[in-house]
Symmetry: C2
Subunit: 152 residues, 2 copies
């Protein structure tokens, strides 16, 4: 993220030779990228459900947000844990041996290989963290499989 | 977390041979462990500043919370990014090319190798995520180096 640059075009009148000068400068955007990421602002940028958006990276992990409403599909991630933090609403993570219900400021990590099915009776916003490339429907596939959009 | 077990001792009378049977069973505690982790409840369990507590794991990453007040020490983590999410208060992440100020529900990832110095003018609570074993003071060391306590 910190390596992004923009081309800054400037038009300057140089009095001594009496000419106009057109200049282009690659401006380092490091400083402009030193900005916080607001969960609330990021959530305001989309409305669809079950479609995770990437908002940050931690090494080879993605930080994502997603809006949920209704029931997802039973699935498991054979190679990774999955982190859920509820920002708004109420998330029921159904597990084969019982449910975990999360309200705002509550988190849960579904362990690697454990079958689960998220469900939200009201619209719910969640922050997810998992390794890059993990598919939302895990081993189940199907119509709810979503390509990850990038909001960074 | 889900592999914790308790030893369940049972005493049973077996009528056919007419004997008492003492049995021990390793009871899987998965179900009891299916509980959300509340950031607020976890924060209520300690008061000290600059002493991160582990509250969950994502594969080989630790999810930690920490209370901050005052200024930390300039340091860098040569091998990893560092994720900050402010839960309460106001966090200023000082960087050599400018500061990033985070209020609740705002996050920032300090890139690997980038020197930084957290500062909080009011008491501030933060969730951190980074690979297991990362030391809070990075390459700087010193008196503020804290051993990670485990609240899981």
């Amino acid at each position: 993220m910190l390596s992004k640059a923009v081309h800054m075009w400037t038009v300057t009148y140089v009095p001594a030779p009496g000419v106009w000068w057109l200049g282009c400068q690659n401006k380092d955007m490091d400083k402009a990228q030193n900005a916080p990421v607001s969960l609330i602002s990021m959530l305001a940028r989309f409305a669809e459900h079950w479609a995770p958006k990437k908002i940050a990276e931690i090494n080879d992990y993605d930080v994502k947000i997603v809006k949920l409403h209704g029931e997802f599909t039973w699935h498991r991630h054979p190679d990774t844990d999955e982190f859920f933090l509820v920002i708004d609403g109420r998330l029921q993570i159904q597990l084969r041996d019982g449910d975990v219900t999360l309200t705002p400021d509550e988190l849960f990590v579904v362990p690697k290989g454990v079958e689960h099915c998220p469900k939200a009776d009201v619209e719910t916003s969640v922050m997810l963290i998992e390794p890059r490339g993990v598919v939302n429907t895990g081993d189940a596939g199907g119509d709810l499989t979503a390509e990850l959009a990038d909001l960074t």
